[in-house]
Amino acid sequence: MAEVLVVVEQLDGVVAKPTFELLTLARRLGDPVAVVLGAGADEAASALGQYGAGTVISVQDPAFEEFLVAPKAEALAQVVQSVQPAAVLLTSTLESKEIAARLAVRVGSGLITDATDVRSDGSTTQTVFAGNWSVTAQVRTGVPVITVKANSTAAEAAPVDAAVRELPVTISEASRTARIIKSEPKKASGRPELTEAAIVVSGGRGTGGDFGPVEALADALGAAVGASRAAVDSGWYPHSYQVGQTGKTVSPQLYIAAGISGAIQHRAGMQTSKAIVAINKDPEAPIFALADLGVVGDLHTVLPAVTAEITARKS
């Protein structure tokens, strides 16, 4: 059967959940081959094998850490040349989409970004225009390069033994131009990753700047915390937690919006959530049109009451 490349998202050998989703989708198209760009392949191999990757290609070059994106795209193009896969699947992070874009140019392939489904014939589904339309599309030139949004499918295990194979690459001078001269790590929140979480609790301008009740409910539910742009622009929550057109798109099982009006740019980032709950003082707030359950009330009383009840039930 044809091989399908899956570009692994991982940190120090710990594989991120969306990669397992990619491997699950890849099995519809052929035999998944995982590609680790940078260190970590040996540590990641057994987890990747759990989801059907019989081969893990390890590609290492110091340029990956010294320069932005271009070296990874050049390396991946060489992997594609060597493996001649039926398709290349990547996650839909900013960096992966850029790798995908540059790869598509390099190997002369069609590109589909932010797919929410990939079928066995290679056709994909995307939601566009703030989630109001669904598009089915298919690449018809070259090796299809497809980026898939997190939480698009449930990861299903299909254990095999994974063998790690080193693949040497050459990175040209042309890819060594955008130099990373400083990198300040951000501190982790300790909560689930926003795009991967099963539940997201988001706060907006209605929080008045106090995210305490939002965080408390999130922790009671084991959820991630999100924010509207109004909350981020006010400096109440970091930008990496913004949900919407210019932030993250999330597709959790449950999205709880507290003190968020539901502007089109916010909806663009959460409209595909399986269930939506809104808490808002204003009965006319557009977010209620999306909600499976809407609570018209003050989030400062509703959220703590719900958190207290959940905590009481747990003990």
Partner: protein, 260 residues
């Protein structure tokens, strides 16, 4: 120094957007405007021009006749000239073809710096800047929350999820900036009047040496099979929170859905 800002004309996101029969964005159905995210790119270019001597800001768009509005708005904000690439053959182009045409136009315009928005508000792929950098072989500094130029060095700060990075490169380079880079200025009365006298060049594919056969819908490297509007969402339950009824309903909802 010459800066080219890439600006796209898009259907208004707050209006009804839809698809035409050929699977392309229906540009006749909705009012169009300069993509809001490209205003941030113009703003950053204008700030460089405000601070430097002899900086020319050229707004470049690829699009149909109506896309002239995107150039007009850029000129009103303060860009000094415009380039409108308009060719019947381009209709239906995918990101690969779009980047081919824009890269050829940039090569012809010979700027020192190209500034783009982070993503267009219609296609929203956010890939054209990286593709252009790849095609030109220029450094690509993408998703900048800040942008600065000093001598022939350009640098951005890129705020990722795990780290905030500072990226540096030599000119010429391609940059994209996010909506974190700072609010865009509003055209002044003076700017609106001055815009009328600013030069706009019109280029077709022949001026760029791009073969019409490699762009447009027929040459697109991916094809749209179907477009379907999302079915309207069934009305949910709305509960006023009097006497704790709202929080009780929410707890019931969470427990029924096995979230707790």
């Amino acid at each position: 120094m010459r800066i080219v800002v890439l600006v796209k004309y898009v259907p208004d996101a707050t209006g009804e957007r839809s698809f035409a029969a050929d699977g392309t964005v229906d540009r006749a159905a909705a009012d169009g405007l300069l993509s809001e995210l490209d205003e941030y790119a113009i703003e950053q270019a204008l700030q460089i021009a405000d601070e430097g001597d002899d900086v020319e800001v050229v707004a470049m768009t690829l699009g149909p006749d109506d896309a002239a509005d995107a150039i007009k708005r850029s000129l009103q904000m303060g860009a000094s000239a415009g380039i409108h690439i308009n060719d019947e053959a381009v209709h239906g182009s995918d990101s690969l073809a779009t980047s081919t045409v824009l890269a050829a136009a940039i090569a012809k315009a010979e700027p020192d710096l190209v500034v783009c928005g982070m993503a267009s508000t219609d296609g929203a792929m956010g890939v054209v800047p990286a593709m252009i950098a790849e095609r030109l072989g220029w450094p690509g500094l993408t998703f900048g929350a800040t942008l600065s130029v000093s001598g022939d060095t350009v640098s951005i700060r890129r705020d990722g999820d795990v780290a905030s990075q500072t990226i540096e490169a030599s000119l010429p380079a391609v940059v994209s900036v996010t909506d974190q880079s700072g609010e865009a200025r509003y055209p002044s009365m003076k700017g609106i009047l001055a815009a009328k006298k600013k030069p706009v060049q019109h280029w077709a594919l022949a001026d760029l040496g791009v073969e019409p056969a490699i762009v447009g819908l027929a040459a697109a490297s991916s094809t749209v099979l179907e477009t379907t509007p999302r079915p309207p969402k069934e009305a949910g339950r709305i509960v006023p929170d009097s006497d704790g009824a709202g929080s009780a309903a929410l707890v019931d909802f969470l427990s029924a859905g096995k979230y707790i």
